[in-house]
Amino acid sequence: MTSSLNLWLIPSLPLAGAAINGFLGKKSSRTAVSTIGLVFSGAAFAWALSVVVRFSSFGLPYQEYVAHWIRSGTFSVDFALYLDQLSLVMLLVVTGVGFLIHIYSVGYMWDDPGYYRFFAYLNLFMFFMLTLVLANNYLMMFIGWEGVGLASYLLIGFWFTKDSAASAGKKAFIVNRIGDFGFLIGIFLLIQHFGSLNFAQVFEKVAPYAPENTGAGFLTAIGILLMVGACGKSAQIPLYVWLPDAMEGPTPVSALIHAATMVTAGVYMVARSHLIFERAPQALMVVAIIGTLTALFAATIGIAQTDIKKVLAYSTVSQLGYMFMACGVGAFSAGIFHLMTHAFFKGLLFLAAGSVIHAVGGEQDMRKMGGLRPYIPVTFATMGIATLAIAGIPPLAGFWSKDEILWKAYQTSPVYWLIGVVTAFITSFYMFRLMYMTFSGDYRGAKVDDHGHSSHSHDGHGDPHESPMVMLVPLMILAALSLFGGLVGVGNTFEHFLAPVFGAGEVAETGGRGVEFLLMGVSIGVAGLGWFLAYLLYSKRPELPQKIADGLGGFYQAVLNKYYVDELYAKLFVKPLIDASTTILWQGIDRKVIDDTVNKAADGARHASDEVRHMQSGNLRSYAGWIAAGSAVVIAYMIWLGVGR
């Protein structure tokens, strides 16, 4: 047995893959590119598994020093890695789900001209995400944090010739920057107060502080600033607007980055900083309120969306809200549990949606789908499992984690619980709506041959067709995980596993088993109700939804248009910014002040030179005349001054 876990290999492997594919992939065959992409991400997963096997013989948290980075007085930051139960869970989710999505992408992206680019970016993303997860200090986490933002930008704008994709990439990047700014200020405050960014040292220094129950101190400030960062990355109110637009990227990207891993980085960061948040109840309350509101708000938007990926995007925002709600009520392990199960079933939902889109030739509008069940049975089955899981039907994965969150939320405040249950009902409704619109009834789309393909070229036949095995196998594996992944949470096993990180009994158990079972019954009930309502509206009486929509009038319009939040932001922030930049900064300062100063100076110099040029006539006697005149002036001046008198 070696004396080290060699954690550094885990992020390095995908980086090597990204470098090889990025630099050499253009001239390589597709087979070579996919081999390299899969081998390096698979190797990272394999190494993560070997770490799981061996970690128990090392004391956790295990730290691994890689290299010096910053040394400035007493302040130092190293390239070093940190492994505890929390990062272990994240490590497995990122490498495992990431590897499955790599496999899926081989099939999904096969016909794309940017094939090598896609795998290079995907591996680059894995590198940064693993850096984020394994960092042993906030600054290295920030590198990963920025890096995944970059990879996300590159992958959202993957089809950059499409205008909407390019602007979606920009939007994601800019909105994320706002959050990153908060995170960065939080890091500065940490340096100011603790003189260190190392997790172990910061938490050691935080531990003696009493909770800031009366009044808000610097811990509250740090907590809220970190939450601002998390809001950006994890798409919470008010910075969630980029995520639905990010669906412009290829579907495997939506699955990997915008559902399973990157967007959960905020939850991970808040959970990692739980010692700070626990001592700042007001920051924790902000987290809980933002999470709860986002969960409900995004879920209601999801009801009216017709684009299959947009529904899933709002669903992701909503589920992330659940995770923050869990963190906000102090149930960090429940949040991480939901993060894990969500990675399984939401990754699966996106991949299955990709399979559906693949089947109907690039169409994403659910109104043009329907009746797909006989054509794509495997996709239907796996997506069905994922839907049952997210809706919270026992004993699938989503039930356990969601119920854990709702139970912990109830112990803090029944209000959180109530909103959570309403959200669960809406979630169940829009997910089954998606299923019925896509798979039941009659096929409403044109035959595949008749409309333009956005990114794939299809071989001949006009009927929707099942995806190749290379795409179906990841679906099946994720379906199995969605089915059984929740069982690790039975009897609080998962919570006990994470207890060394979060402390045991993080939430005092109030209320008896009876209350817990009652609440469980309620959440199963609302999930079933949502299912039934979706069945009623979208399978049994398909004419009803339109009538209800007409009946609701303005409210339906508002929901359909995402509450006009994008328009509001455009009016409030984007337009004033552009106007101010145009009139004040560009036309005012740049053109009038900076350009004009330079131009006027040049003009003045030229005019003055034009005048003075005539003195240089080349006529010797005129020079002598100038000298004589100059001397006369100097002498006259000195006489006037009275020099020598």
Partner: protein, 100 residues
Amino acid sequence: MVPLSYYLVLSGILFACGVTGFLIKRNIITIFMSIELMLNGVNLSFVAFAAHWHALAGQVFVFFVMVVAAAEAAVGLAIIIAVYRTRETLNVDQVNLLKL
């Protein structure tokens, strides 16, 4: 004894005559002579001050100026002869190849 100012005024007049001649004459020999006139105007003020302050430095300067003027006259006259041989004129306005 003649006051210092008389010498200085005469020196100034000589110098001004030299400057005027230099500026208005076209014949290169005359210009040359005007330069000598200016030098001698300055020499006069040097010796006047030297006598006035009883300092020999002024007279030493005059010797230097006379040596330099002699050397200059030798080189200058040689150049003038060379110019006259090639251009067949002594009018400076026609010897202006360096002018733009």
